[in-house]
Every structure is written in structure tokens, then in C-alpha cells.
């Protein structure tokens, strides 16, 4: 069981990285990755929302959707968005410091494909509550890792002279491609014996 959970965690974090293997959460990956500190906070906010999502998805799948599978997509979106909004309000009341650090990212994240992607993948893989939470932690960790690495590269690249023709999205995509290739090296981590 523990080995299974470890596999789920590592697999979601590096082998099948949400951003670099599944192309999920690309908007923040390109949009909020020009400074490491911002990227890190965005990543942490993502982990937080992913954990809530995993819980919501498990709850809906177990208690509601077994009778009405056709409502899966709609209920995922609406329930996740509203839960995140409630949690946001709660944090604002209880911990203004935490809200200041993560709060501004929360509304951005709820419409992120990584969130819905996690709910759908966890459903397709038939994960239970514990497995789902570990999967969310791994996926969130992977998103944070990719964001921070990207931000590090972009911080450095600001000091370089870049030809105008490649500046912007084209350069970011090519950097992401090289990163994705580097992450391919993690494949096989669990099957060498």
C-alpha cells in the first residue's frame, strides 16, 4: 500500500508531470513564471486547491455520481469553483497573512485545466480518498517544480540579449520543450529491477 502511494506520488510529480507531460496548467506556467517568489506562491496555492479538488471529486464520485454519471463534468466544475470560493472566504477571515500570500491566485486557479484534469484523471484511475489526496499532492508538487524551474530560467534569461524574433511565447515554448525532454529522464524510475 505504502509502495503504491509512493508510486502515485512520484509518478504524478515527475514521471507524468502535469505541466510537462500532460500540458495541464500551461496558463500559469507561461503567465506567472517571471519571478521565482511569485512562481513558488502560485505553486503552493495550486497544491492547496488541488487537495480540495481531490476531496470534492472523491465525495462526488462516491455519493452522488454513481447514480448520475452524466452530471460529472458540470458538478465537478461548479462544486470545485464554489468550494474554493468558500475556502477563500474562510481563509480571509481566519488568516489574513496566508490570504495575502496565496489569496490573489485562488480565483485564477479555479478555472485552470490542471484542477479539472486532476479530478478527471483521479476518477478514471479509480482512486479512493487517500490515493486521490496523495495524487493531488504529487501533481501539485510537480506543477510547483515546473513553475519554479521555469521562473529560474526566465529570471536568468532577462540578463541575456535575446533576438527579437524569438522573444516571448516562442522562446518559452522551446524552453518548456527542453525541460519536458529533461523530465523524460525520470521515466523508468520505478521499473528498473
Amino acid at each position: 500500500m505504502a509502495a503504491d502511494l509512493l508510486w502515485i506520488f512520484i509518478s504524478a510529480m515527475v514521471i507524468n508531470n502535469f505541466t510537462l507531460y500532460y500540458f495541464l496548467g500551461l496558463c500559469p506556467f507561461f503567465g506567472v513564471s517571471d519571478r521565482i517568489s511569485t512562481a513558488l506562491r502560485m505553486g503552493l496555492a495550486n497544491i492547496f486547491v488541488l487537495l480540495i479538488t481531490a476531496f470534492c471529486a472523491w465525495f462526488l464520485n462516491t455519493y452522488v455520481l454513481s447514480h448520475a454519471p452524466y452530471l460529472r463534468l458540470i458538478s465537478f466544475i461548479i462544486v470545485i469553483a464554489s468550494t474554493v470560493q468558500f475556502v477563500e472566504m474562510a481563509i480571509k477571515k481566519m488568516s489574513p497573512v496566508l490570504f495575502k500570500a496565496l489569496g490573489i491566485f485562488l480565483p485564477l486557479i479555479t478555472t485552470n485545466c490542471a484542477i479539472l484534469g486532476l479530478a478527471l484523471f483521479a476518477t478514471n484511475k479509480g482512486y479512493g480518498l487517500l490515493e486521490g489526496l496523495v495524487y493531488a499532492l504529487g501533481a501539485g508538487g510537480g506543477l510547483t517544480l515546473a513553475l519554479v524551474i521555469m521562473a529560474g530560467i526566465r529570471e536568468e534569461s532577462k540578463l541575456l540579449e535575446i533576438p527579437k524574433v524569438i522573444e516571448g511565447t516562442a522562446l518559452n515554448l522551446i524552453i518548456a520543450g527542453i525541460l519536458s525532454m529533461a523530465f523524460m529522464g525520470f521515466a523508468g524510475l520505478f521499473s528498473t529491477s
Binding site: Y22, L24, C27, G117, I166, L171, I174, A176, G177, S180
Partner: protein
């Protein structure tokens, strides 16, 4: 008689202008405001499922279905949807059509559905679709909204097909599953893997940037040549003036 002619003329002009407007709204999505190549929207499906041309076309088709019907509904009911809850209403409409297309694919094209997997359901978070509702369908009459949606969706499909074809040709040596170069071809496998998605879109954008830059340079060269010619002409006239001719 004259009045009638004038009326007819103005009507024709109006029709002509209207047709031009429709034409413009349709054509902009295909190239000038192409959702993938210019606006860089909906990257998740554009990169995730375009490892073959067929998958690109299938994803494009599914998006076309969802976008057209969502635009139709949003535009038809735009007077009755309160502004405060418009986004939620859009999401409900879009999610309904995505679920429908998901079921239809699963029932009638199970092989394609297996290839695309959860990415069919992820059409619901494609920024392109919600973006068109908010920016266009909610403000424009039905026919115009349909033209816009069709243009954008076809532009999206075209971009996905291009990416899929490039990646399949380079990464598998085939197009639509038909081998192009024979067995001696050594495929560039990484192109059909995730890094190939990033790289091929990156290099395509680079290529478009280069084309644009070259065009701008050409224009500025023409401008420069014109200016030089103009100055030279003036110089001639000044010289002739000085000579007192």
C-alpha cells in the same frame, strides 16, 4: 425612378457591407486572429492530443461542435441572461455540450475516444470557448455570432491539424497512418512525445515571427528608398534653383 435607383443602390451597398462584415468575422479566425498561432489560446488540447493528424482533426471537430452550439445558445438568449451570472450560465451551457460530445464519441468513435481520453472532457476549460462567448456571442446577433464561432473553430482545427501533421510526419514518418518514406526512415520519435508538442509549436511561432519581421523590414526598406528618392529629387530642384535656372 431615380429615387428607386438610389434606394436599390443603398440597399445593395448595405448588403455588400454586411457581407463584407460577415466575411471579415469569418476569415479573421482562420489566420489573422488564429486562436493557436496568434492568440496562443487553448494550448492544452493543442499540444496534448496532436501527436497524429487524425487526433488533431478529431479534437478540432469536437471543439467546433461545442463552440458553435454554445455560441448559438448564448447569442440567442443574450437578452435574457443577467450580466451578473453570465459566466456561470456560459459554463453550464459549455459543459452540457462537452458532455454530449464526450458521450457521442464514446458511442460512435470509441477508438478516437480512447486516444483522446480525458482531454475531450477538458474542452470545457479551453479558454477559446469561454473567451468567444464573453467577447463576441454575448454582444452580437445570432448569425454574426455563428460566423465568428465557425471561423474561430475552423482556425483552431486548422492549427491542430498542422501541428498533428508536422508531428506525425517527423515523429512517425506517416500521415493519417499511411507510411510516407518506407521502412528505411528513422523516425524522430521525440516529436510524437510531449516535448515535440512544445518544440513544434515553439518553432512554428518562431517561423511566423520571422516572416512578420521580414515583411516589416521590407516595408521599411521600401519607405527608405522612397525617402531617398524624394530627397534626391528635392536636391536636384534645389541645385537647379541655386543655378538660377
Amino acid at each position: 425612378m431615380v429615387a428607386q435607383h438610389k434606394y436599390l443602390f443603398s440597399e445593395t451597398m448595405k448588403n455588400f457591407e454586411e457581407a463584407a462584415r460577415y466575411h471579415e468575422e469569418f476569415i479573421k479566425g482562420l489566420w489573422k486572429e488564429n486562436p493557436v498561432f496568434v492568440a496562443v489560446l487553448g494550448m492544452c488540447p493543442a499540444l496534448a492530443v496532436t501527436n497524429t493528424a487524425i487526433n488533431g482533426l478529431a479534437m478540432g471537430g469536437a471543439t467546433l461542435f461545442v463552440l458553435t452550439f454554445s455560441s448559438l445558445l448564448v447569442s440567442s438568449f443574450r437578452r435574457y441572461i443577467p450580466k451578473e451570472v453570465r459566466i456561470t450560465t456560459f459554463v453550464i451551457i459549455i459543459a452540457t455540450f462537452v458532455t454530449i460530445v464526450d458521450f457521442l464519441l464514446q458511442a460512435f468513435l470509441p477508438a478516437i475516444h480512447k486516444e483522446l481520453g480525458a482531454f475531450v472532457a477538458l474542452i470545457v476549460v479551453n479558454c477559446l470557448i469561454l473567451g468567444r462567448q464573453e467577447a463576441f456571442s454575448f454582444k452580437n446577433p445570432i448569425r454574426l455570432a455563428m460566423v465568428d464561432a465557425l471561423g474561430m473553430a475552423l482556425g483552431f482545427t486548422f492549427a491542430l491539424f498542422c501541428l498533428g501533421a508536422i508531428r506525425e510526419i517527423l515523429g512517425n514518418g506517416s500521415l493519417f497512418g499511411v507510411s510516407l518514406f518506407g521502412p528505411s526512415f528513422e523516425p524522430w520519435i521525440v516529436m510524437i512525445l510531449p516535448p515535440g508538442g512544445f518544440l513544434s509549436l515553439g518553432f512554428l511561432l518562431l517561423f511566423f515571427n520571422w516572416l512578420k519581421q521580414r515583411q516589416e523590414q521590407k516595408q521599411s526598406l521600401v519607405y527608405l528608398a522612397d525617402t531617398v528618392a524624394e530627397v534626391a529629387e528635392k536636391k536636384d530642384s534645389i541645385i537647379s534653383l541655386k543655378r538660377g535656372v
